[in-house]
Amino acid sequence: MLVAAAICPSPPLLARELTGADPVVPELRAACADAVRAVLACEPGLVALVGAAPLARRWDSGAELDLSAFAPPLRASRPGSAGNDLPVALGLAGRLLDQAGYRGGRVLYSVAQELTPADCRSLGASLASMGERVALIAMADGSARRTLRAPGYLDERSEPFDAGVEEVIRSGNLDDLMRIDAGLARELMATGRPVWQVLAGAARGRSAAAAVHYRDDPFGVFYLVASLSLAESLSLAGSQEAADD
């Protein structure tokens, strides 16, 4: 059962060593750390890491992030294990957990933009059923087309799109994330869509108490950092879940 979730963006620049001498967005990193700490305070027995990537698959929890793909001089710091490298979103999520001192079990899933909302919901539900107390680190990014200088240039629809997602998350009615239009999300380069819908699937209709730690678009990409805690289910709902599985 899902007990808590953190939502963090997954830009490579979250890795401090990629931004050069300037830490660039220390407040974003601090907000992500806060959100993950809030999740761990709920004492999960298992943490599921979910992030967008070209391929949907499960990853070995020992897989490592290879930052040399972004900055070749970082090659030397990590010998061996070429190929089969962890998607950056999952690598960043893993770092956040490591930095928060989490030593418990974790499972890693990448989700592709091709996944339908139904696929995502079903993956979320199965993650939630992996343990008594499951937490989710959802690495999800909003539109990358929010400004003229944004990676995807300006699309006026970005602002209301992201505002809608933020509103749902703040409300805690996570099931509403299922209504996000996958086609529009792709047009707006909002790669978080399948991740948000995995989160909705994991919540299984339960509402959450949300705290937003950061929301801004310093580079034209919408970054939202939030932590969510889900109320304990009634025993009836609990047995219902058990029956579903």
Partner: protein
């Protein structure tokens, strides 16, 4: 010098930490030496900092623009009105004391070939003796040793101070540069100069025609391969002017091109007039080499 860790043994062929004053600079950190001439008649913008107030303002400017070292000279390199040791000391020592007073942390270099002037400069707070006439006065090393100062060992061929090269030729100019600068460096070590404070300099234009200076630039990696830190003084010099057929005030681009090549070959100190532009060039080259991270990298990673 007290309070500093003992000098590391210099491994031949490998660049190691360079110590200047209280500072220790790693091999991958290029240093800019800003020129402040206390002369009325240097070749580039003559008389610019002849006045002490103007000179002090220039020091502030080069430091603000990113100079790590301020190089103070009282005698122009070119022939001209004689400047005796007393006059040289009058021009430099008091000024160095004033710079030391205003900027306790900056590395101060004195450009001189005379041990008397070097002694007065070191007593006033200079950290490095820039012997641009390449060991003409052998007692410079003694002064460096006595004050714990550094020493620049330059190659000037067979030239005497304040003379111009006349029909100079070398069977192999770089071989001559390597032999002479290393000989001077080793002599300095024998005289008691801290090996971590010794720098070698091919001295472009000094005892060299333009072909020689271009060759030395092209083959500068042979100097850096010795393990001694290499200083280059390229700024607006005649080899740039002759190569591009440009007067001193039009030599910046050529100077910066030579700076970039020298930085690529591993030179560590760049003696310059244009500090800001030189800083940009050496930092850019250091980042291309992968020795310095970009100041701020965001593009494509948001």
């Amino acid at each position: 010098m007290t309070g500093l860790p003992p000098a590391r043994e210099r491994a031949p062929g490998k660049q190691s930490v360079l110590r200047l004053g209280d500072h220790s600079f790693p091999p991958e950190q290029p240093l800019i030496m800003g020129i402040v001439n206390r002369t009325p008649d240097s070749f580039y913008r003559p008389g610019l900092t002849w006045d002490e107030e103007a000179a002090m303002a220039r020091v502030a400017e080069v430091i603000a623009e990113g100079a790590d070292i301020v190089d103070v000279g009282g005698v122009p390199a070119a022939p001209g009105k004689p400047v005796d040791a007393a006059e040289e000391i009058r021009r430099t020592a008091g000024f160095i004391a004033a710079v030391r007073d205003s900027y306790p942390g900056v590395v101060i270099s004195v450009d001189t070939w005379r041990h008397e002037a070097a002694r007065a400069a070191c007593a006033a707070g200079a950290d490095l003796i820039n012997d641009s006439w390449g060991g003409f006065d052998e007692r410079l090393a003694e002064v460096a040793a006595e004050f714990g100062a550094g020493l620049v060992c330059a190659h000037v061929g067979r030239q005497q101070p304040r003379t111009r090269p006349f029909r100079v030729s070398y069977r192999d100019v770089m071989a001559d540069v390597l032999a002479r600068t290393q000989q001077l460096a080793e002599a300095a070590v024998r005289a008691g100069v801290d090996p971590a404070r010794i720098v070698i300099d091919p001295a472009h234009d000094f005892g060299k025609n333009t072909w020689h200076s271009l060759e030395v630039t092209r083959r500068l990696d042979e100097m850096t391969a010795t393990g001694w830190p290499v200083l280059v003084s390229l700024s607006n010099k005649d080899f740039v002017g002759e190569t591009l057929n440009q007067p001193p005030e039009e030599r910046l681009a050529g100077t910066l091109a030579a700076t970039a090549v020298s930085a690529w070959h591993g030179a560590r100190i760049f003696r310059v007039h244009q500090v800001l532009q030189s800083r940009h060039v050496v930092d850019m080259v250091a980042s291309i080499k992968g020795e310095r991270p970009p100041a701020r990298a965001v593009r494509g990673m948001a």
